[in-house]
Symmetry: C2
Subunit: 361 residues, 2 copies
């Protein structure tokens, strides 16, 4: 029995993506796979809006985040993490696991990163090797103004690399990797990219490649240098998830067909529609700077959000995400990126709205 997936990843898959996964798998050391792999990398460059080399990992998004840390930093290096939710905190945790002590700029959950706060932090902490941001943070539903943030980094500390986690943003929210001066843009296959989870990507600038050559943190499976050396052969260093590569190729074909600007526009329109519907229900948004990928909604005080989510899943087979960490039970998060359609969002909104009535009665 099917259900409606309104969770922020994995998101629903287009029918043709399911279809290609039923086709015979390719061996990864063949010309046929090489063509498909090269297509994925080329189309990823299109989605990223970059001319930089893109590398592919067989990992979740977290593997991509760790790959940026280990490929760019050495013991003792200084880094700044601008945290706007649970996924910003993940960068901090990864760096600490490698013995680093990043400078952390913390925003109140629901607020986007403040460029002026960033400027102050950059001035106070000279000699940073890199600065990390989330593009969007699914835990809070905010979108960060990467163009402005990146410009501040380049102005105040021109030697620092700009590293962006766009795992939930890419292929849904506007991102201009090259035009905005983003050195490393990370993403995962299972959100805006409309493929199943299990693949991750990094677009890496020449400045970042230089840092990678001298970075001394240990790495093997996540080593971008090995991946780059395999690119001319149209291969990956280790057996990739070939089924997911075929799925990603098909999803990227659909994105190209629609045009990336149209994808951004469609996502923005569905987000605006969702926000208006939520306001009509008398509910407020959690995010002060709401993203287009998903809408985080404050639940009425006293409502048991954990039960609500479970009820909706069991009774209507609609999968809506709740709040994470201290927001558990207090908010719901309705995604509207990738293959999620207006009818799906409508079903989710209706399920939510019908369960609000008793508390008002």
């Amino acid at each position: 029995m099917n259900y409606i997936l309104l969770t922020p990843g994995p998101t629903p898959l287009p029918p043709s993506v399911y279809k290609v996964m039923g086709e015979q798998i390719l061996h990864h050391r063949t010309a046929e796979f090489g063509v498909q792999f090269q297509f994925v990398l080329d189309e990823m460059r299109y989605v990223y809006r970059t001319k930089n080399d893109v590398v592919m990992l067989t990992t979740s998004g977290t593997g991509a985040m760790e790959s940026a840390v280990v490929n760019l930093l050495s013991p003792g290096d200084k880094a700044l993490v601008h945290q706007t939710g649970a996924f910003g905190e993940r960068f901090t945790k990864i760096m600490k696991a490698y013995g680093l002590s990043p400078v952390v700029v913390d925003e109140v959950w629901g607020n986007a990163a403040d460029p002026e706060k960033l400027r102050e932090a950059l001035k106070k902490n000279p000699g940073l090797k890199l600065v990390t941001f989330q593009h969007t943070d699914t835990s809070t539903g905010v979108v960060n103004d990467l163009k402005a943030l990146s410009a501040v980094v380049h102005e105040v500390q021109p030697d620092a690399l700009v590293v962006v986690d766009s795992i939930s943003g890419l292929g849904a929210e506007e991102l201009e990797t090259d035009a905005w001066g983003i050195d490393v843009a990370l993403t995962g296959s299972q959100k805006g990219l409309m493929a199943p989870p299990g693949l991750a990507f990094a677009a890496v600038s020449e400045r970042a490649w230089k840092a990678c050559e001298t970075a001394a943190l240990p790495r093997f499976y996540l080593d971008w240098r090995t991946m780059r050396r395999s690119l001319p052969k149209k291969e990956t260093p280790y057996t990739p998830a070939v089924t997911l590569v075929a799925a990603q190729a098909e999803a990227l074909r659909l994105i190209r067909e629609e045009g990336i600007e149209n994808v951004w526009k469609r996502t923005a329109e569905l987000a605006a529609y969702t926000r208006a519907a939520v306001a009509k229900m008398g509910l407020t948004l959690f995010a002060k700077d709401p993203a287009d990928i998903l809408t985080a909604v404050n639940l009425p005080a006293g409502m048991d959000g954990k039960k609500l989510i479970k009820d909706i899943l069991r009774e209507e087979r609609i999968s809506i995400a709740g709040g994470q960490l201290h927001l558990e039970g207090k908010i719901v998060r309705i995604a509207h990126m990738g293959w999620i359609k207006k009818a799906d969002v409508d079903a989710g909104l209706k399920a939510l709205s019908s369960r609000l009535q008793p508390t008002h009665a």
Copy 2:
């Protein structure tokens, strides 16, 4: 157009495994996924013949190998790598990437690990934290006598952990994780386990968990401790490759249906059949201690093995592996594990045999 896959991973998939990948993907934080994930871990214990905890990674097999290194070792620790081919060398490379200097016992390619050579090396190098072996090495087609090797380690250095890469062996060659005293057994989804590549597993003994708690090499995405903490919730710490988990669940259902001993028997019979056919062609085996998972065949002197492989793929759509590194062009490797059937092997043997004639003429 379909083709016959005789490569040692990815191996062909059973039709029902393709089918489940066409079904709607599950969100990884749901009870439904939890049931499927738990099934996979339970059935993996059945295939591993272990009562130990099994953890699952979204990586290639190489990620699992690295996970054993980073979860068990600290800077300065002593380890021994018994190399019987390209994949043994990979353990050495990973350890070196983390600043370790393993003791390497090298066998001539094609020979299995010699227990007496191991005994001498263990006596000469006291205080080892762990010893690694390959179960089978697809680069050479050998199988190692893990029962004997593990017994020697436990006898000479009872404190050393026995770590086995069974990425190509599990689900094809006999493996008794608990009975043979194997502390860590690593594997990947794409060979005997009959699922696509992208998932990896580690069966970890209590002794190894103790080592994991104090091991000081840095890790985050590959950290077994985080994975173990998520087991009671039937979850993974990070978004897993849910499509591949569904595929693995179905493939494990098929293995249980057949019975693991019957899988071993069937694989051994197909291997014996292949070896006899090769001998009949007047060709010799590369491996002195041939595995049941694949047969490595010496090509007649002067024959261009690289061209042969390409010709067979292009003209007959049969994918046979050639030699790796210094064996490139000199051997071919015909896999007969997992879903590979006698008819597939026959087609491969015929393609090979028909191309041998001209050189004899």
